[in-house]
């Protein structure tokens, strides 16, 4: 394994090569299939059918809330409030979307705030996470295990209790109603560090030693080898972090509830959809949720490609 790496530097070309070889071996595989007996073929079909059935059922279960969100957004308020819920709207009311757009919700601003906070905190969080995970995965230093165990231990305390103390801290820093207060306190996630460290540790140590022999600096090695190899995990972290900004509610509402910094969920859950008697216009709320979901969905479609690309990236000969 190590020999291979020593011979060639890991460059995109090498990766392309690897991908090509993968493709070749796939062709080989197809040829093999022709040779297998009929019995095995039937078996294979049965397994495939089972797989699709299983995935199909799981997909329906997983998709149901998404479906619910869509149909709720086009129901009339009365249909939505009727005690017996309907699976298909009796009557489509698109005006909810108009209400969501034109209402005083200021969707554009909410969206902008969420994007700023989401993107900045994701980038910073990735940097911090990569550096820490690298230190834990590749360096030997005094107290490493104790420190790592202590970090893991912090995950175990219910975070609810942090809220009040942290509130006092940020207000004494004068951070209330700033973007900083939405980004910095949750910049470090021990979860992500742990996840990435696990992934880094899978990368053979020999690779590192070889790079050292070549005189590659630590940072360069991290950038050129570790990060590309851990790309799928990094993307997973990105997605989780973005979703975190998307769904965060308690903290943002507490520390930055003004229009200039308000985040999307705070806005969506707020009073903007209440009519005068205090009843919530859920269809309009759902319409707003759908509107803000679409761009996010597109971002995810884009990321999915990267995850797939990660397949060929990690195709180092072993």
């Amino acid at each position: 394994m190590t020999d291979n790496i020593n011979e060639k530097e890991v460059t995109p070309e090498v990766i392309e090569d690897a991908a090509e070889q993968d493709a070749k071996s796939k062709v080989m595989k197809e040829k093999d299939i022709d040779k297998v007996s009929k019995k095995q073929l039937i078996m294979k079909i049965a397994v495939q059918t089972g797989l699709y059935l299983f995935l199909g059922i799981m997909a329906i279960i997983v998709l149901f809330p998404f479906y619910w969100m869509l149909i709720s957004s086009v129901k009339t308020l009365n249909e939505y409030n009727s005690t017996v819920p309907t699976l298909w709207p009796k009557q489509f009311r698109w005006s909810s979307y108009a209400v969501a757009f034109t209402g005083e919700l200021n969707l554009g601003r909410l969206f902008l705030n969420t994007c700023i906070v989401g993107i900045v905190s994701t980038i910073l969080s990735l940097i911090v996470t990569v550096l820490s995970a690298y230190a834990f995965a590749r360096f030997e230093f005094k107290g490493k295990n104790v420190l790592f165990a202590a970090l893991l231990a912090t995950m175990m305390i219910p975070g609810e209790l942090f809220t009040i103390t942290n509130y006092v801290t940020v207000s004494s820093f004068g951070w209330l109603k700033t973007y900083t207060v939405l980004i910095v306190p949750f910049l470090v996630s021990v979860f992500y560090i742990y996840l990435l460290r696990q992934n880094f540790m899978q990368i053979p140590n020999e690779l590192y030693l070889a790079a050292k022999v070549d005189g590659t600096s630590d940072l360069k090695y991290l950038w050129k080898v570790m990060i590309p190899l851990a790309a799928p995990t990094l993307i997973s972290i990105t997605i989780l972090k973005m979703m975190g900004s998307w769904n965060s509610y308690i903290w943002p509402r507490l520390v930055a509830n003004d229009m200039a910094h308000k985040l999307i969920t705070v806005g969506l859950r707020g009073e903007s959809f209440k009519d005068m008697s205090g009843m919530v216009d859920y269809p309009a709320q759902m319409a707003a949720v759908v509107i803000v979901t679409i761009p996010l969905f597109l971002v995810f479609l884009f990321f999915r490609k990267y995850i797939m690309r990660g397949v060929s990236r990690s195709g180092i000969k072993g």
Binding site: V62, F139, E140, I157, P158, E160, F162, Q198, F300
Partner: protein, 319 residues
């Protein structure tokens, strides 16, 4: 020489994370400890009489453990965790492996399993209520107006309807719904992590297995699971930690209708209260000392379980 050089380098890499953690995680923990061991602590009292007006002691712990609902909270938390973590991990693993081993509509399928990420949490809670809740008749004597989608499906297959979450529901029925809901909630994250892991698993191991004629089942247990073991360990450990902090799912199922935090079916509030639910209630009631003490008790439990988990995974995980 080289090792010594690495020492300070490692700390530099760790510095940004450590600074943020020290301020926003370690300090709150210290504060929690202080509150837990200050008898009868509340913020209000601290503001009025100062931090040193409390005597050191275990009164908050005594108060927490002598609360009539404490064992219920603890039992529920343990029960839900022990049930949901293995189920959701197994299912997520199956979905991830299945996704990885199909060819036709593979991309579409993968996209579908990513969709839950973009479904806002507001929408998810509402769905479950609608699926399981039976809408009673207007009078106590009237028939049900709706028996819910799930019961309709059960009856269509010739089964008998079950009162899942209504006032006459059994604990077992409640538990079933809670487990399904929690597993459902946990699935997308786990699928994503495991799929990410699977993508980085070297294809050639499988090719080798194929050539050797190893059965699918054997391949799964002998190749996939060991190769994925770091990811599985991660998913299980974080699953346990998350499971012990269960709260919002119970609110999601039973709603927050009339009486504050009901955490149970109508007429049996607090039936499914959990440790975090209890902590929340104590914070709202301004019993910060009790809340901190309960948090520490919970921490001790999670810590012990995680240590066991780590010990096991040390032995089983292949790097």
């Amino acid at each position: 020489m080289n090792k010594k050089k690495n020492q300070w380098k490692a700390w530099i890499y760790l510095l940004p994370a450590l600074i943020v953690l020290a301020i926003f995680t370690v300090w709150p923990i210290i504060n929690t400890l202080r509150m837990a061991f200050s008898n009868g602590y509340t913020y209000a009292k601290e503001l009025k009489y100062g931090a040193f007006s409390f005597s050191f002691g275990f009164e908050n712990f005594v108060s927490v453990t002598s609360y009539q609902g404490f064992t219920t909270c603890l039992g529920n938390t343990l029960l839900l965790t022990v049930l949901t973590v293995p189920i959701s991990t197994m299912l997520a693993l199956l979905v991830a492996v299945a996704l990885n081993s199909i060819k036709f509509v593979r991309k579409t399928m993968q996209t579908i399993f990513f969709l839950p990420y973009v479904t806002n949490s507001i929408a998810i809670g509402m769905v479950f209520m609608a699926m399981f809740t039976m809408i009673p008749g207007v009078k106590a004597t009237d028939p049900y107006r709706s028996i819910g989608i799930i019961n309709s499906i059960i009856e269509a297959f010739g089964g008998t309807r079950i009162s899942w979450v209504n006032s006459d529901s059994s604990k077992a029925a409640n538990l079933a719904v809670l487990v399904i809901y929690i597993v459902w909630n946990a699935l997308p994250f786990k699928i994503l992590v495991l799929l990410g892991g699977l993508q980085s698993v070297n294809k050639q191991y499988y090719e080798a297995a194929k050539i050797d004629g190893t059965s699918r089942f054997r391949t799964f247990w002998r190749i996939t699971v060991p190769l994925l073991s770091p990811m599985i360990a991660y998913v299980i450990i974080t699953g346990f930690i998350g499971g012990f902090k269960e709260y919002s799912s119970i609110v999601g199922i039973f709603g927050n209708e009339n009486s504050g935090d009901s955490m149970g079916p109508t007429g049996s509030p607090e039936r499914w209260n959990t440790m975090v639910g209890y902590i929340y209630q104590q914070i709202t009631a301004q019993h910060h000392g009790d809340a901190s003490a309960a948090a520490l008790i919970l921490f001790a439990i999670i810590f012990a379980v995680t240590m066991v988990n780590m010990y096991v995974s040390k032995k089983k995980v292949h790097y």
